[in-house]
């Protein structure tokens, strides 16, 4: 455990007897109590890095490697295949529809929870968390049971010629179910902490309810809202289980990108499967970069709030 350290500069030069009284100080073994020694740290860090390499980074790299196995032309061809294009379009459409709806709902829910008292509030908070604990497959099945041809609302929907399951509405609903908590969960603690003081100040200065919302409440949570939307979006594009159940996997029509990847892979069309997967990975990485950028910004906002 001995490692070179300059002799402790503190205290007047110790005589021989003092050196015997404080041997550890002379041998320079002191380190801050909350840190480990350099070798321990090196081992721990190396372990973590190795783990990340094996579990996260290597698979990610292999996705791109496999996708480009037939060279760039093969990669482009796999992505411009009509079915692949249809899957990409559908995935983006589902995200565009479900994310704003969930953002709106999350904001409304967080607002209600943070700023008002009403009976059943804690039950409400629990229900928002439900999608985190329920398997997505069950979420999909529930929609089939409710909206499917033999479901509760089936006859009504058929009578009015409305197709929910195995069509876009079902996919959007299932995606929304899975991603409901993301925005609300980001906003609730923040809005609870902020309380109603700023709103009261705005109202006392003569602002109307809408003005207070747009000029005070929304700006106060904008970074958390964006952060939540980003997480929600990442999950919406990547969702597999719930969507797999309600989509019916009609190729070229109700196949989203994750479903398309699975189908291609099962058909041993590895290059095409990994090409679509790489696109999903790029979308995920872009989200990650945006999220990191937001965290810098959001972190500042957090600091500002603490200083306030």
């Amino acid at each position: 455990m001995d490692h070179p350290m300059p002799p402790a500069p503190a205290s007047p030069t110790p005589g021989p007897s003092a050196a015997r009284a404080f041997p550890s100080r002379r041998r320079g073994r002191w380190h801050p109590p909350t840190t480990e020694t350099a070798p321990t740290r090196a081992v721990l860090i190396a372990g973590a890095v190795l783990f990340l390499l094996l579990v996260l980074l290597a698979p990610l790299i292999s996705v791109f490697a496999e996708a480009l196995a037939d060279g760039l032309p093969g990669y482009v061809a796999a992505l411009t295949d009509p079915e692949a294009l249809s899957a990409i379009r559908l995935t983006l459409l589902v995200a565009v529809l479900s994310v704003p709806l969930n953002a709106l709902f999350g904001l409304a829910a967080a607002w209600a929870i943070a700023k008002f008292e009403f009976p059943g509030k804690s039950l409400f908070i629990t229900v928002i968390d439900l999608p985190f604990s329920i398997s997505p497959v069950i979420a999909g099945l529930v929609y089939v049971l409710v909206y499917g041809a033999h479901g509760v609302l089936g006859p009504f929907l058929q009578a009015h010629d409305l197709q929910v399951v195995f069509a876009l509405p079902g996919i959007v609903l299932a995606t929304m179910f899975v991603t409901v908590p993301f925005v609300a969960r980001e906003l609730i603690p923040l809005m609870q902490e902020q309380g109603t003081g700023d709103e009261e100040a705005a109202l006392s200065l003569g602002a109307s309810g809408w003005q207070t919302f747009w000029r005070v409440t929304l700006p106060n949570v904008k970074w958390a809202l964006l952060y939540g939307v980003l997480l929600c979006n990442a999950r919406a594009m990547g969702e597999f289980g719930a969507v797999a159940v309600v989509s019916g996997r009609i190729r070229g029509f109700t196949n989203t990108m994750p479903l398309q990847v699975e189908i291609l892979y099962n058909e041993y069309n590895t290059v095409a499967a990994f090409a679509v997967a790489s696109l999903l990975a790029v979308l995920a990485l872009a989200t990650l970069v945006l999220k990191t950028l937001l965290e810098w910004r959001y972190g500042d906002a957090l600091m500002a709030r603490r200083g306030h």
Binding site: E200, A202, L203, S204, L205, G206, S208, Q211, R215
Partner: protein, 357 residues
């Protein structure tokens, strides 16, 4: 603006926050609502502003009932305890907020709003800091921005909730003096809430002492200091000693000794409580009518010596303040104490619980 507060009741769930508050605030007056936490003073302030709705009673502004006027239309400048500055806006935008949210003709142009904000920043002695964000200001500066923001809407009444509560002692004292000067300059009817008796006495024209949702006393600082109306006011305004005495034929008896007290209105026969502030005791050589005691301990304070004197019976030690350069008795010495000012209130011990700071 004159404010009449008539028979205000307010409950939060089962907890009565205000129980029949009556108060009239004159035009241009500076009023302090003073009381311990839970006394209802902040609730009263919020009821006046329209941030809380009273369960019963009326608030009149210049004789007009405010029951159906929401906070937006009451034209009150409210300064919140933690300032509630808009953290995403600059100081200038914070101050101009009340003008920017006005509608139609009422709304001044951007240039006018800016000019008004700068003018108010000068008034609160913060010229040049208009581009700062709240997080970049000190506590005292935030306090003054909050005040400027409230003043920007030219309010009919200025309401301040614990305006100096979150500031350190030195800043607090400076701001207090400055707020008094500002009030004298602008003449707004002003109500502020505080639990600091020194702050209330130094700043206010009149002080309203509250406890448990009722008003204990309304008076000038002079009234409160020299003529506390209730034992609570006596105890809340400053250090005091309480002695349980028995009144017989107009004379207060401490155990078997008749006390010679300064002249005061008569008190009915029976148990009573005698209040004497530490600085109102004098040591005397004349034992007639004085309180005998033994010096237990002497403590040094900046402005006086504090002498603890045990007076026997079941009382704790009595505290006596002795101005600094006076000859002090020794511990263990027998002394005689004579009050030069006191409060005598009928009723037994334990009828009221003394405020514990």
């Amino acid at each position: 603006m004159r404010i009449d507060i008539q028979g205000i009741h307010k409950e939060f769930g089962q907890f009565p926050a205000l129980r029949g508050v009556e108060l009239t605030i004159g035009d241009g007056e500076l009023i302090a609502l003073l009381g311990p936490s839970g006394s209802g003073k902040t609730t009263l302030l919020r009821v006046i502003a329209g941030l809380e709705r009273p369960d019963a009673g009326q608030i009149l502004f210049n004789g007009a009932d405010m029951a159906d006027t929401p906070v937006q239309e009451r034209n009150v400048g409210f300064v919140f305890q933690h300032y509630a500055l808009f953290r995403h806006m600059t100081v200038e935008d914070n101050i101009a907020f009340g003008l920017a949210v006005r509608r139609g003709r009422q709304r001044p142009s951007r240039a006018q709003r800016r000019a008004r904000a700068r003018e108010l920043l000068e008034l609160v002695q913060m010229g040049g800091l208009h581009h700062r964000f709240p997080a970049q200001l000190s506590g005292g500066q935030r306090q003054r921005v909050a005040l400027a923001r409230a003043l920007a809407i030219d309010p009919a009444v200025l309401l301040l909730d614990e305006p100096f509560g979150a500031l350190d002692a030195k800043v607090r004292k400076d701001l207090r003096r400055w707020l008094r000067a500002l009030h004298d300059e602008t003449g707004h009817t002003t109500v502020f809430v505080t639990h600091d008796q020194e702050e209330a006495l130094e700043l206010a024209d009149r002080v309203v002492v509250m406890r448990d949702g009722i008003i204990e006393q309304i008076g000038t600082p002079e009234d409160l200091c020299l003529r506390p109306a209730t034992p609570f006011v006596y105890g809340f305004l400053g250090d005091t000693n309480m002695l349980a005495v028995l009144v017989r034929e107009g004379t207060a008896w401490l155990g078997d000794r008749a006390l010679a007290l300064p002249p005061a209105p008569p008190v009915p026969d029976g148990p009573a409580r005698l209040y004497v502030r530490p600085h109102d005791f004098r040591f005397t050589d004349d034992s007639d009518g004085a309180i005998p005691g033994t010096v237990q301990a002497i403590r040094r304070r900046l402005d006086a010596l504090r002498i603890e004197v045990s007076v026997g019976g079941h009382h704790g030690p009595v505290e006596v303040a002795l101005p600094a350069p006076a000859p002090a008795p020794e511990p263990g010495q027998t002394v005689w104490l004579r009050p030069i000012a006191h409060g005598l209130f009928p009723g037994g011990q334990g009828v009221f619980s003394e405020y514990e700071a």
